[in-house]
Structures are given as structure tokens and as C-alpha cells.
């Protein structure tokens, strides 16, 4: 019983957050919208018994990535700039048309569609939650160990690259 | 490693102080309204206008205090005494006497200037008011009453501490209305608020006989 209620709440929350990201004039409000979406999606992960991913989502996305966004927004002070002038002439109209078409298609699908395409969830065994972290760890360190090492390397390179890019020498610019 | 030893040294200082404060007597603060620190003898507190032991006012309205005041905060107007019922032993008395405590710098030049030692300073220092008018002390507030106590600005105030006024320590010599030290050797009503009786001022010969520090006015 709890899952449908929470799903509806969190779905609305995440959609509202997403719209805020796109529509807010101030990048700080965009970041807050993204925070709302991330949180709602994390709750949705919990609903789907992916506790570990939910926690990592909050730690990595909300804790690090968004904080970095806010830091950059405040550092370069773009929180007052307007960016709604358009230089590509037909892009707005194109996006609007596309959005309308997709909405039409989705509506039609909801009304007349074939719902056998979307399967019902099969596994909701709550006892499996306790094993989730161990199970993920087992997968990570057996089947996916090469990818795991590769992402570790990627992170190191990204950190080094970021330092190299952001390193500011006086008189360089 | 130097950092760590310094760090531990610092922790020892604060920790030791804490233990000494709790179990020893290293406390340096006192709980002010409950207990008061003994103020230095020549502390410059609020002013008081003195009386002679017979109840006469010492102020003769000469305005020397107002003249010498560097902050220009004293306002005095003299008035001729009524011959039937004189207020002061001289010809005139201080009819209006006002000190603006917001301007006063507590330099005590008025005390120095006063020829009759009418104005002196006490050890009272709690002079906060809630408006500017109350900071101007008038004759009623400055003039000591018959019992030798300094009047309080707000006697009805529930925070007014009357006991404190009784120990107010104005410094004044027990001179006679004539200005001579004729009260010497006689123990009498001291004419100044302060703890205990004060001995009258010694003769000039006595002053010359002893070293100056022993004739401290306490």
C-alpha cells in the first residue's frame, strides 16, 4: 500500500524538480530543482529495493556533484545573468512542436495503447534487501571488476584534468 | 611532530585551567550584581553635593566648578540666602545645580575647583537611564540628604539598591562651616556617605610631622 502513494508523491516531486531545472531563471533555483529530482528518484530507488544505489545517488549526486554546481555558480557569479535570448532562429518552435507531438503520442498511448509492453514487476521479495549490498559487491568485484578498475582510472584522470584546467597562473589570461 | 607537541601543550593549558577553576580558586570573574568588587579609593563615580554636619549646604553658588569643567556639563546659578533661614553659611547658595552625566568625563576638576568642597565624587557608578532627560542630574538628585546618604535617581525603581547608597564613599574633609579644621580631634557625624566614621583632618603641624602617605584620607 505504501508503494503507490510514495510513487505518486515522488513522481510528482521529481517532475516538479525537473521542470524547475528547465524553467527557473536563476541557476541556483535550477540546482535546487535538480536536488528535488535527485531526492525523489533516490526514494524511488528505495521503493525498488535498490538501497545501495539510493544512498550512493544521494552521496555522489546531491552531496558532491550538486555542491560543485552551486560552488561554481557562486564562484563565477552567473546567478543573475539571463540566457533566454535565442540565436538559432527555429529552435524554440522546433522544440515546442516536438514536445507537443510527444505529448500527443503519449496521450494516445495511454488511452489506446497496448499495455502488454510494460510488464508488471516480478520480484518484490523484501528479504532480498539485506543481501543487496553484498550481492552488488559480489557482482562488482567478479563480473565487472575490469569496468570497476576502469572507472577508478577515469576518476583519477578526471580529477587530474580538472586540476590542470582550473589551475590559474597569474598573467596567463 | 613539533605541531603535535605544541597541540598537546595547548590542550594541557586549557585542561589544567579547567581543573583549577573547578577544584581550585582560579576564578577571575565575580557575579557582579550579587557581589561587588572593592573599588579603588580614588575611584571617580557620580557626584554628590555635600552638607555641613549641621545640615547646611556647602555649595555657595560660585560657579567655579562650571567654569573649570572641560566638558561644559555643569550648570550652576547662585541665589542670595534668605537671612532668616539661610540655606548655606555664605552669602549665596546654589539655587540651580545640574550635571549632564552624558557629557561628564569624570575628571574631578570640579572637585578640585570647589572652594568649599561642596561637590565631591562617590564610588557609585551605576548610572544607566532609559532616556536623555534622566541623565541630567539635578540639585535634588545630587544633594545628599540629612542622614548623609546620596539620593537615588529612581527610589521607586524595583532595581534600586538602597543599601548600596549607604556605602557610597564620597571623599570629603570634615571641615567646619567656617572652613577651618576646628572639628579636629572630635569624632562626629561625618558629613559624607561612606563606611564607618572618619577622623577629622589633622592640624598643619601634624601633617608636616608625618610622611604624606600616612595621612591618606581613608
Amino acid at each position: 500500500m505504501a508503494e503507490p502513494i510514495l510513487f505518486v508523491l515522488m513522481a510528482l516531486g521529481s517532475l516538479a524538480g525537473a521542470v524547475t531545472v528547465v524553467a527557473a531563471r536563476n541557476p541556483v533555483y535550477s540546482a535546487m530543482g535538480l536536488l528535488g529530482t535527485l531526492f525523489s528518484v533516490a526514494v524511488l530507488y528505495v521503493l525498488q529495493l535498490a538501497h545501495f544505489v539510493a544512498a550512493v545517488q544521494v552521496i555522489v549526486y546531491a552531496g558532491a556533484v550538486l555542491t560543485l554546481f552551486l560552488f561554481v555558480i557562486m564562484l563565477i557569479g552567473v546567478d543573475t545573468s539571463e540566457d533566454w535570448d535565442e540565436k538559432l532562429p527555429y529552435q524554440r518552435a522546433f522544440v515546442g512542436g516536438l514536445a507537443g507531438l510527444i505529448a500527443l503520442f503519449a496521450g494516445a498511448l495511454t488511452l489506446f495503447g497496448n499495455f502488454d509492453w510494460v510488464p508488471a514487476a516480478t520480484s518484490t521479495d523484501p528479504d532480498s534487501t539485506n543481501g543487496t549490498i553484498q550481492a552488488i559487491a559480489e557482482l562488482l568485484f567478479t563480473d565487472w571488476v575490469l569496468a570497476f578498475e576502469a572507472t577508478a582510472l577515469l576518476l583519477t584522470i578526471a580529477a587530474a584534468g580538472a586540476i590542470a584546467l582550473a589551475h590559474y597562473r597569474r598573467g596567463q589570461t | 611532530m613539533g605541531v603535535i607537541t605544541e597541540f598537546i601543550k595547548g590542550l594541557r593549558v586549557t585542561g589544567g585551567t579547567m581543573l583549577r577553576t573547578i577544584f581550585g580558586d582560579e576564578l577571575v570573574t565575580i557575579e557582579y550584581p550579587k557581589e561587588m568588587r572593592q573599588k579603588p579609593q580614588r575611584f571617580h563615580g557620580r557626584h554628590v553635593l555635600n552638607r555641613y554636619p549641621d545640615g547646611m549646604e556647602k555649595c555657595i553658588g560660585c560657579e567655579l566648578c562650571a567654569g573649570v569643567c572641560p566638558a561644559k556639563c555643569i550648570f550652576v546659578r547662585g541665589m542670595d540666602n534668605d537671612p532668616e533661614d539661610p540655606t548655606s553659611p555664605g552669602e549665596r547658595f546654589g539655587f540651580v545645580y545640574e550635571i549632564n552625566m552624558l557629557r561628564c568625563i569624570f575628571c574631578a576638576l570640579c572637585v578640585e575647583a570647589c572652594p568649599t568642597e561642596a561637590i565631591t565624587m562617590t564610588h557609585l557608578f551605576e548610572m544607566s537611564t532609559t532616556n536623555r532627560e534622566d541623565a541630567i542630574y539635578t540639585r535634588e538628585t545630587l544633594l545628599m540628604d540629612e542622614k548623609g546618604e546620596v539620593p537615588h535617581m529612581f527610589p521607586d525603581d524595583e532595581l534600586a539598591d538602597m543599601d548600596e547608597l549607604a556605602v557610597a564613599d564620597g571623599w570629603v574633609r570634615a571641615t567646619a562651616p567656617s572652613g577651618l579644621t576646628s572639628y579636629q580631634g572630635v569624632r562626629m557625624w561625618q558629613g559624607t556617605p561612606g563606611p564607618g566614621d572618619w577622623d577629622p583632618e589633622p592640624d598643619q603641624e601634624q601633617i608636616d610631622a608625618v610622611s604624606p602617605t600616612e595621612v591618606d584620607d581613608g
Binding site: 558532491a64 555542491t67 557562486m74 549490498i133 553484498q134 | 595547548g10 586549557t14 576564578l27 570573574t29
Partner: protein, 364 residues
Amino acid sequence: MSWPEFGIVVLRVVVTFVLLLVVTLINVWAERKIVADMQSRIGPSRAGPWGILQTLADGLKLFFKESVIPRKVELGMYLLAPFLAIIPAFLIFMMVPWGKPFMIGDHEVALQGADLNIGLLFILAMSSMAVYAVVLAGWSSGSKYPLIGGVRATAQAISYEAAMGLAMVAVVIFTATQGEGGTLSLAEIVERQTGTWADVSPILSFIPRWNVFPQFAAFVIFVVAIVAETNRAPFDLVEAEQELVGGFHTEYSGMRFAMFFLAEYINIFSMSAIAATLFLGGWAGPTFETFLPGFISALLPTVYFLIKTYAIVFIFFWLRATLPRLRYDQLMTLGWKRLIPAALAWLVVSTVAIGFRQFGPPWS
């Protein structure tokens, strides 16, 4: 879930909440009193015996004070920020087991807000949430000092959370060798610290089985990191009075300021509680069930927990009274060039040592 179980869940959340509030009230008073003692002063002494009700009086005063809203604030974020500060603070403590579970009838009552299997990750997540309050409060106030405080808070939180997480990892890896498989649940971590080291060596049979003995380096790193994480002196650059007025809460007053204040002290207590749980064995301790009445035995673990936590809270106060504030570059140097490498090195050392103990040397 049956009704009695639901009632137990609600009850333990409420009790945890109330415990946290009471303890925080005492904490604020204790800090003022202890720092006063360290500076040969008296401290609060008027409200109640030894001034113990001072916090309550201050809280009431702040509650009834006018909340001034400056003209140039971003109103939405300005009003939201205090709540963002206080909610993660409460949620963190919900993870901490503050007493030994006991039975009522056939229902087990765990003295803990909630026991998640991802408890430690949840704590990390919530403590990284706490920085949003500071950043948003600083930004939305629309003036210089709060903004600088907010930007500082961002960098500081990111830097020290890494060290904190690494210290936690060392403990988790060590804990995995103490029982059946690894765990991130705080209740389980405490369970594994009960008893003594008697099985390692009979000489150690009187030393409690706390993680702080094998993981002392991690403990030191963790304590330094939580002091920085809660923005306490000497790492309180976020609200450095001498340079930033009040930092992020400069423009806040009345109830909203009180919420920031409360959140800071709740964070101190929760973080100390987590340190006590991870390293000092939480509620673990002798309960003398054989010769003490039952309810005292049931209460003793909570007392042990509070004593251990307050020992770490005392370290917070001691540091505050002792150390001058770090400069900003010193803060970053300590975080990135000292603490994180130290945590990584300790992680390697501890893991290799555990490997030797579990599997013997690799060359044999």
C-alpha cells in the same frame, strides 16, 4: 506490520527525537560552562541550578523575538534554508543505537530511530546534505559575508567528507572480520564490539573489544573530520566572527537563527554519537545482570552510550577553547595534503594487516 509493531516504531522515533532535544539543550549549556571553566570564568549561572536552564531561556527568547527579513534576500531559499539545516541533523541521529535492545512481550524494541542496512551510507548522505543549508542561507541572504561563508562551507564540506568516509571504510573493513560478513548497520557494528579481546590474547581479556584500539589512527582522523564537518572551532571559517560577522547566518534572526544554532549542536552530538558507536563500542559495557535489578541493567547501556558520546563532545569543547582558527589555505592543506593521504595510508596498512591475520602471509 501489526499495530503493536507500528506503535513501537513510532514510539522509538519519538523517544529518540526527545532524547536528542534534551541532550542538545544540555549540550549548549555544557559548552558554555566548560569553555568558561577553561577560561577561569563562571559561565551561565542564573537560570536554574548552575544555570542549567539557560538554553531553555535563550530558546524562549529567540522564539519570541522578531524575525527580521532583509529586503534583498531571495525569499524562498531564505525561508527554506533553516529547515534544510535541521532536518538532516535529526535524521543522522535516527541511525544511532543509543541503548541495548530489550523485549516487551515478544516484540523486540531497539533503542534506535531506525536500523538501516545502509546505515553508514545514510549518515554520509545526510551529513553531505547539511552543507546545502549553509550554502543556500549564505547565497539567499543577498549580502557579502554570508556568501563568502557559504562558498567556504562548500569547499570545506567536500574536503573533509572524503577523509571522514575513508576513516569509516577502515572501520567497516575491520568490522567485517569480527563477525559473519561485512555490515553497514550501526546496530550490528555495536553488537560486534561487545565483550573483550580475550580471544586474541588472554592478557587483553580486561580490555573492551572496541574498534578504537585496532583502529586508533582512523579514530583520530574521524574526530578531526567531524570537527571540520560540523564547522566547529578551529575549523569554523564558515562563521568566523572576526572576519565574516556571523558567516552564513549573519542575516538571520529570531526563530530562524535558533534553528541554525540548534542544528549545529544536534550535529555535534550526532557526530560524536557516531564516533562513539563506530570506535568506542556505543552502548557496549558490563551490565552486571547477575546482581543488579533488571531495570538498572537495561538502563546501563544507555548510560554508557551517553558517557562515551559526551567524552567526544568534550573533545569538541576542549578544541574550541584551545586552538586558534585556521587560515583558509591551512584548512585546505590539512584536509587534502594531510588528512586524506593519512586516511588512505591507514586504509592500506589496516587492510594489509587484516589480510595477514585472516589469510597468513602471501608468500607462504
